[in-house]
């Protein structure tokens, strides 16, 4: 299925933020916005749900902690117990530093890998640059033309106060 998209180009963060708010209030379907940096508040304006990546981070951190703690106890007290200076075999306080490091390692590296996978960013992936300059100085809001009532003129009027730089209609092929 193909759909018609309307590409709206702005020149700064405040304009795209106001335009996005206006578009959402008027019931347009926002496909995505493309910006050179993270524009604060744009996610709320677009109505993106809060990301759940924090839970992945927490889960992996706990997994790392549990796995490393188990490993230290297993190696030191069960698999090959060695008496070092008369200390107890399961000397928990001494196991804390390494457990902490591995917790951070699992949580940090895991979160980043999860981020790239969820965002479908992979080494060597061909980028779909929606508009030239989107990684430089252009802020692009993409709307979907979903029904027959969609009128480009209306959008043009709606976005006029926000110094719209360019408007372009495109057909997205699957």
């Amino acid at each position: 299925m193909s759909r018609r998209l309307l590409i709206n180009v702005f020149a700064n963060d405040q304009d795209i933020l106001n335009a996005t708010n206006a578009a959402r209030e008027n019931g347009y379907t926002i496909v995505d916005a493309y910006t050179p940096y993270a524009v604060h508040g744009l996610d709320k304006a677009m109505g993106i749900r809060p990301t759940r990546i924090g839970w992945i981070c927490l889960g992996l951190g706990l997994l790392g902690a549990a796995a490393k703690l188990w490993f230290q106890i297993w190696t030191s007290a069960f698999d090959w117990p060695v008496n070092v200076g008369g200390k107890p075999l399961t000397s928990l306080p001494a196991f804390v530093p390494v457990t902490f490091e591995v917790t951070v390692l699992f949580a940090g590296v895991g979160t980043v890998i999860a981020f790239f996978l969820v965002s479908r960013l992979l080494p060597g992936k061909k980028p779909k640059v929606v508009y030239e300059g989107v990684t430089n100085d252009r802020f692009v809001l993409v709307l979907a033309e979903e029904d027959a009532a969609f009128d480009v003129e209306n959008v043009k009027n709606l976005f006029a106060p926000f110094h719209i730089v360019k408007m372009e209609e495109r057909v997205e092929k699957d």
């Binding site: 050179p36 591995v102 949580a107 940090g108 640059v129």
Partner: protein, 457 residues
């Protein structure tokens, strides 16, 4: 919208730069061939690296005996250099993580280079414990892997094992943090690259980044999580480094003050190194509008604060040695200040306590030449701090019959020089291959203080 001008905020970027100006200014240096100055610096650094490499090759082929170590003094230049370099690295994480959590927006101009500095400093640090093993080809024995010797596992109660885990985790997390921050900038480079090969390389490394706000939304969260993880990590790493000393029973090492003292010292020395590098970078690459006097001033203030903690630690150590009533502890500290290595102690005190006092004066904080000189003095002082801690405690231990001295051999010095060569070679390559300023993050603070736009990011 009415223009809002804040008198409380100093602009972070000068000269009314536009978004495309930022991209151009930061990427421009990557378009040209390297300048003669770069080649000169690279040849010098690379030669030092070769000197270090030859020294290490000779040491590995002959044995650790080529260093000035003896039966009494088992640690000297090697561990001093290790702690020195790890400490340097900590400022990068402080800038990228802790200042991010504190919403210090001035960090955006310096965080990329500071993070790179962290990675290179940790590489330099990592070399020393490995070559100190004597048989570095067995370094993998430090990793707990199933083996045919039992399996005999490593001793997880040993601070040296903690250290191995701390340093390798620190390196990995720093690298991942740095790379994640680089991806959007690599996409910017990709989209403006004109040569085919460059486009291919940047395209591969930028993972197909397209600036989608859905991705940015997650990216911000990931950045926050990484900052939250890196902050306790950086504290833990230098704490564990200090435990290499504090868990032993050597007077002068066996002390609970060591972890906070080491962490403050690390940040102190790291900021000095950031200043040294940034002052050169802003001059050579004409980044004066991005790395402003305001940035330099802020870093000077961090130096005063951490330098104050370091000074307090020195004083506390002396007081506790006196107040403890422990004669070995007392002797060690008197020996530190007045013994055969007293000159290293006073070098440390004058470099680390006296020199930073100049930064109380705003005029001097904004004088680039003064800041540059003081930053180098602090680097020297912090190297001496580690040397003092390690050497003075080892030369005079419990048994006067085994008292000894340490003179560095030419190999010791060549290895230290070589580590600087490695550090600067890596940093110079970084300056040629990747954007030294975080393009995206600087764009987000362009309007900081100029008007109401974007100041709530």
């Amino acid at each position: 919208m009415a223009e809002v001008y804040s008198t409380l905020r100093t602009p972070l970027v000068l000269d009314n730069k536009s978004y495309s100006d930022v991209t151009r200014d930061v990427c421009e240096t990557l378009d040209h061939r390297p300048s003669t100055g770069w080649w000169a610096a690279f040849i010098v650094s690379f030669s030092l690296l070769i000197i270090g490499a030859v020294a290490i090759a000779y040491q590995i082929a002959t044995g650790v005996g080529v260093w000035g170590l003896n039966n009494t003094i088992g640690w000297a230049f090697d561990i001093t250099n290790f702690v020195f370099w790890i400490g340097i690295g900590h400022a990068g994480t402080l800038i990228s993580a802790i200042l991010f959590l504190f919403r210090q927006k001035w960090r955006t101009s310096v965080n990329r280079s500071a993070e790179a500095m962290t990675i290179f400093a940790v590489i330099c640090a990592g070399v020393f414990p490995i070559i100190h093993l004597g048989r570095p080809w067995f370094a993998f024995w430090l990793i707990p892997y199933p083996n045919f010797r039992g399996p005999l596992w490593i001793n997880f109660r040993s601070p040296l094992v903690w250290d191995m885990f701390a340093i390798s985790c620190y390196f990995t997390i720093s690298f991942v943090f740095w790379f994640t921050g680089l991806v959007p900038d690599l996409a910017t480079l990709r989209d403006r690259a004109t040569s085919k090969i460059k486009k291919k390389i940047y395209s591969f490394l930028s993972f197909g980044w397209d600036g989608s706000n859905r991705t940015w939304h997650r990216y911000e969260k990931v950045y926050l999580l990484l900052a939250g993880l890196a902050t306790p990590l950086v504290v833990s790493v230098h704490t564990i480094v200090s435990w290499d000393f504090a868990t032993s029973v050597i007077p002068g090492w066996h002390s609970t003050i060591l972890p906070p003292y080491f962490v403050a010292g690390a940040v102190f020395s790291g900021f000095a190194m950031v200043l040294t590098l940034m002052i050169i970078v802003r001059r050579v690459l004409h980044f004066e509008a991005y790395i402003t006097l305001h940035h330099i001033e802020q870093m000077c203030k961090v130096i005063i604060a951490t330098g104050g903690i370091v000074a307090l630690s020195y004083a506390t150590e002396l007081f506790v040695a006196y107040y403890s009533g422990n004669e070995y502890e007392r002797f060690t500290f008197i020996n530190r200040a007045l013994g055969p290595y007293g000159w290293t102690y006073w070098t440390m005190v004058s470099c680390n306590i006296l020199a930073p006092q100049l930064f109380w004066f705003k005029k001097l904080r904004r004088n680039v030449a003064v800041v540059f000189v003081v930053s180098i003095i602090i680097n020297v002082g912090m190297w001496f701090e580690r040397f003092v801690i390690i050497m003075t405690s080892l030369t005079r231990d419990y048994l006067p019959a085994s008292w000894s001295g340490f003179t560095p051999t030419i190999i010791d010095i060549a290895t230290l020089v070589g580590s600087f060569g490695l550090f600067f070679t890596l940093f110079l390559l970084f300056a040629r291959l990747l954007p030294m300023i975080s393009i995206g993050e600087v764009k987000s603070v362009l309007h900081y203080a100029n008007n109401g736009k974007g100041d709530h990011i």
